[in-house]
């Protein structure tokens, strides 16, 4: 039963990434179609890698499926998977490295960690650490952290790519909020120190960017967000109480509606929203 679901997921991801990719987002002088295609392919690979990584980590196929599904439908991954996106390429390479680290049993696997900066340098040269000549002040750092952890940023308004991004939606769908909170709670009570540390680290790296909020380092945390939401989903689905299960069903219906909202917005309103801003985009798009 799980294989067909997985295949459906891959079909959905493939079609959602490639559908009208040469038209939406609108074409500019900076548009590199091959770059977009590569990004879409990277996005599909990421869905696959997340499945295997989570499956290996939790030894649970359901959580793995849920995590890769969440990653596939997140508004931010949807948006970045359809344009030339350094963070999207970088995420893919990092996921491959982590996957290899899971597979290699000897202590040599930690040597692979050194490949992460290299892969970042190759795939995401705009990463602030390679470009910036200054460091954030403490007050700016705290402000940035507060923005990155705000509900507004997570669920309502993604401001990391002002001229070319989908600003009207956050990183996640609003209907993910309850399961996201349950997922965070699960991470805390399970003492998932590694994952929590990665979260904190990613927030700090993104917040340290002198170009914030016009920087997308936080994108690297999307697999973790997917995993958190998946954990929340899984935990909720384990509840025996029929009312609780019914509420979950209602939530799934609402999620479907919100996803259709996003897709409608992306296909109809997003191109109209950014068409006037294209001259402001000075990078491959």
């Amino acid at each position: 039963m799980r294989l067909p679901i997985f295949i459906l997921l891959i079909i959905y991801t493939t079609s959602s990434r490639f559908f009208l990719i040469d038209k939406i987002p609108p074409i500019t002088d900076q548009t590199v179609i091959s770059g977009r295609l590569l990004s879409a392919a990277a996005s599909i690979t990421a869905v696959l890698l997340i499945y295997f990584l989570v499956k290996n980590y939790f030894k649970n196929t359901k959580i793995a499926l849920l995590a890769s599904w969440v990653f596939s439908v997140l508004p931010w991954t949807f948006e970045q998977g359809r344009l030339v996106s350094g963070p999207n390429y970088a995420l893919n390479l990092i996921l491959i490295i982590i996957y290899l680290m899971q597979k290699i049993k000897s202590g040599w696997k930690y040597m692979l960690l050194f490949l992460i900066p290299l892969s970042l340098y190759i795939s995401y040269p705009q990463f602030w650490m390679f470009k910036a000549t200054m460091v954030q002040s403490l007050s700016a750092l705290i402000t940035n952290i507060s923005i990155l952890s705000s509900f507004d940023f997570l669920f309502f308004k993604n401001i990391t790519f002002w001229w070319g991004g989908v600003r009207e939606f956050g990183i996640m769908f609003l209907t993910f909020l309850p399961v996201f909170l349950i997922g965070i709670y699960q991470l805390v009570i399970r003492s998932e120190k590694k994952l929590l540390t990665l979260y904190v680290l990613a927030i700090f790296i993104a917040a340290l960017s002198p170009f914030f909020p016009e920087s997308r380092e936080f994108y690297l945390v999307t697999p973790l967000i997917s995993l958190t939401v998946a954990l929340g989903f899984y935990q909720w689905s384990l509840q025996e109480n029929k009312i609780v299960k019914a509420v979950l069903c209602c939530l799934v219906v609402l999620m479907t509606y919100e996803m259709s909202q996003f897709i409608h917005f992306y296909l109809v309103h997003y191109p109209q929203q950014i068409i006037g801003n294209l001259s402001q985009i000075h990078e491959a798009f």
């Binding site: 507004d152 669920f155 309502f156 805390v188 259709s260 109809v268």
Partner: protein
């Protein structure tokens, strides 16, 4: 269980600290009576002398005031203090101060009941009381007559007595009384208090099944106490919904405009059904309400910027002490790890506290979500307890926690007690008292006194500080009873005072100057003009008002 002498001593010290922080220079910090405070003060004075409010309503169950239909209890509570101390900042603010201090004590008792089966109940109670005593948000509200401290006190007391009554039947009737008093104290409580009562009834239904008689009597008493409000509502629906109507998110045009824009952007071939499916009221308002709800939980709002609307702003800081940032999540973890019975009650408390504000269009709002301050204090207390329980080095840890608290509180003290009155007196409409004092000395020389009502409702300051007889004002006030875009109703004038709505000094000066008239104009409207006869200054030396005379 009785308290140990050490606990009593700590509690007394905390209450003493709370009292000191709330009473210290209460007449001058905040630096002036805000419009709402002056409104409450004058209505209390009016009821004391004439039995009627400024609009002439006899013993009102809702004060129409500026068209915002204030719940009346805080004004009634001012009356005894006004009788004792006269019309002053002190008598207007004293009820809030005293009930603010009272909240600290009641919270201690409530936390002890919340965790009555736990060893740490007294420590948790003391720490919660301490964090409430030094909470910038609670201090800010306790030191001003802004309704919400009064309502919070009655709400906590109502909950405390309700929980107490589960073991000792008698307090249930008192609990009902205090719940009703909270409804008479603040608008939002008309939604919050019933939700709390409902939650308590469902949550403790088993225990309450043994208290049917007391429950029925309490319900009847509550109903009787609410009758005046119901009667007022039947006569005039605005008594209950007047304020809600004008601050409601549905009153704001933003969502409607965005909906129209999106429908317009849809392809011309798109059917109406599809367009409505995606751009309907339910989705758009739900999203807006959820966004407003969650904005109250943002770190930036709670710890860095706070409420940006005056006068609830503490310069360059949030609503809570910065040290609480780590303690709040730890408090949550502690609650859930220990499986404390009250954990869902506290989650519910936060949710219900911010729920009404989510339905208003000026968000985030610290005033409308003030009830959450008690839970934040409890969580901060539990967070510190959690740290202390988990460490082997208790004394150094306690010292570090204290240092963090002192450091945060020191910053707040500087911002609030020093910087606010000196550099941000305008937040509190500073200057009207001085204007009234000056104008009263000059008024016999002029036929008219025209006062710009660009900021606040100046008429209320002329009534409050001018010692204007209430019965005379009720006869002479010229009120069009037309609400502006924020729902406020202006007073056009009384006696020789005129308060033209949207007064523009630059236009008046060119075209419409009246003879033998004194003009009171905010300095921002008359920049660069030097022909004024008198100026009122802010404490930092900048001009607040310019007064012009034309013969």
């Amino acid at each position: 269980m009785k308290l140990s002498k050490k606990s009593i001593l700590f509690l007394v010290l905390i209450v003493f600290l709370a009292g000191y922080l709330r009473l210290f220079r209460i007449d001058t910090i905040p630096p002036a009576l805000y419009t709402d405070e002056a409104g409450q003060g004058y209505n209390a004075y009016s009821i004391m002398l004439s039995g009627r409010d400024e609009h002439g309503s006899i013993l009102p169950v809702s004060l129409r005031s500026f068209g915002d239909w204030k719940p009346p209890l805080p004004s009634y509570l001012i009356i005894p203090f006004m009788y004792l101390f006269g019309r002053s900042e002190l008598s207007v603010r004293l009820p809030s101060v005293l009930l603010g201090i009272g909240s600290v004590i009641v919270l201690f008792a409530l936390v002890r009941i919340f965790f009555e089966e736990e060893q740490f109940r007294t420590k948790a109670g003391l720490l919660s009381a301490l964090y409430l005593a030094v909470s910038p948000w609670h201090i800010l509200q306790s030191r001003s007559a802004m309704l919400v401290v009064v309502s919070l006190f009655f709400l906590i007391l109502g909950i405390f007595l309700f929980l107490k009554s589960l073991k000792n039947r008698k307090p249930l009737i008192l609990s009902a009384t205090f719940f009703v008093l909270s409804v008479y104290s603040y608008y939002g409580m008309r939604m919050i208090t019933p939700l709390f009562v409902l939650f308590l009834l469902v949550r403790y239904r088993k225990e309450l099944s043994a208290l049917i008689k007391e429950l029925v009597i309490s319900a009847m008493l509550g109903f009787v106490l609410l009758l005046p409000l119901f009667a007022g509502f039947i006569r005039q629906p605005d008594v209950v919904f007047g304020r809600a109507r004008t601050v409601s998110v549905f009153y704001d045009r933003g969502v409607k405009l965005r909906q129209w824009e999106l429908i317009t952007q849809d392809d011309t071939g798109t059917s109406t059904i599809i367009s409505r499916f995606f751009h309907n009221n339910i989705y758009m308002y739900s999203r807006s309400i959820a966004q407003r709800l969650l904005s109250h939980l943002d770190i930036k709002y709670l710890f860095m910027t706070g409420d940006l609307s005056q006068p609830f702003q503490i310069p360059n800081m949030g609503l809570l002490n910065f040290a609480d940032l780590a303690l709040l999540p730890l408090g949550f973890i502690f609650l859930f790890r220990k499986n404390c019975k009250s954990r869902w009650f506290l989650v519910f408390w936060i949710f219900v506290s911010i729920l009404p504000a989510a339905f208003t269009f000026v968000t985030p709002s610290s005033n409308r979500t003030f009830n959450a301050v008690a839970v934040y204090a409890i969580l901060a207390g539990l967070g510190s307890l959690y740290i202390l329980q988990r460490t082997r080095f208790k004394l150094p840890t306690a010292l570090i926690l204290s240092m963090c608290l002192i450091w945060s509180f020191n910053y707040f003290s500087r911002q609030y007690f020093l910087l606010l009155p000196q550099d941000h007196a305008d937040y509190w409409n500073y200057g009207w008292k001085q204007v009234v004092e000056y104008v009263r000395g000059q008024q016999n020389k002029f036929d008219n006194i025209i006062v710009s009502d660009k900021f606040g409702m100046p008429y209320i300051y002329f009534l409050f500080y001018g010692k204007y007889p209430p019965d005379e004002f009720q006869k002479k006030a010229v009120r069009p009873y037309v609400a502006d875009r924020f729902g406020f109703e202006h007073v056009d004038g009384f006696d020789k005072y005129l308060f033209p709505n949207d007064f523009d000094w630059n236009i008046t000066k060119k075209n419409n100057l009246q003879k033998n008239t004194l003009y009171v104009v905010p300095a921002s409207q008359a920049e660069g003009e030097a022909d004024y006869i008198h100026a009122i200054y802010y404490p930092n030396g900048k001009i607040a008002f310019k007064i012009f005379a034309y013969d």
